[in-house]
Symmetry: C2
Subunit: 121 residues, 2 copies
């Protein structure tokens, strides 16, 4: 049976409070997908790293890992840094199918929700 892991990948910041919305998202994803391993990872300033998170997912028996960037858009980090990290973890875990999703900000439902909030409706 496929065991799925969802790795939410956020930028990170020096201020610990910065991670609170990302932790709310992770908790909600876990509720939506109770059987999946859900891990929040960071590019910088916070831990675990993306590589550590995928390692932990593979160690927990996951054979299918969905990496979702909690970014507004595909910028330099996602275009340059993340493919290198993905290549590294794929090479190390050939038994895992590791998929990189588009950034959350590219999703139509997320765009609509951000627009509704911004419009104050």
């Amino acid at each position: 049976m496929t065991q799925q892991a969802i790795v939410l990948f956020a930028h990170g910041a020096r201020d610990p409070e910065w991670a609170l919305p990302a932790r709310r998202i992770a908790a909600e994803v876990q509720q939506l997908r109770p059987a999946a391993t859900v891990i929040l990872a960071f590019l910088e300033f916070m831990e675990p790293t993306l590589v550590d998170a995928v390692e932990a997912a593979a160690a927990s028996g996951a054979t299918d890992v969905r990496v979702v960037p909690l970014f507004l858009a595909q910028g330099g980090h996602l275009k340059r840094d993340v493919p290198v990290l993905m290549e590294a973890v794929r090479t190390k875990h050939p038994e895992c199918h590791i998929e990189l999703a588009l950034a959350v900000g590219e999703d139509e439902g997320v765009v609509r929700a951000m627009a509704a909030y911004s419009a104050g409706v």
Copy 2:
């Protein structure tokens, strides 16, 4: 009559494509609020700046300006840099009511939409 402006305030990036989701959000906000002036502004790398955007809103006759940070969370930029900018524009435009909203990522509807996308449901 109150004339409202909505200034969407994003981080900005060197890659011009980075701004595409933010421009989609701005277009959707304009559809939701056809009578409002909707302006997309940036902290760095892209233009206009937040100050320029509020100036443009005031010049267009807006008396009520809602500044909405297109950020996942309140980090150092929003806690330190933005209040200074807000103070500057409020001093310069006492005729305007200028409100700073919480970051989009703090909104429950946005958290739910990000979670649904992340979970792949």
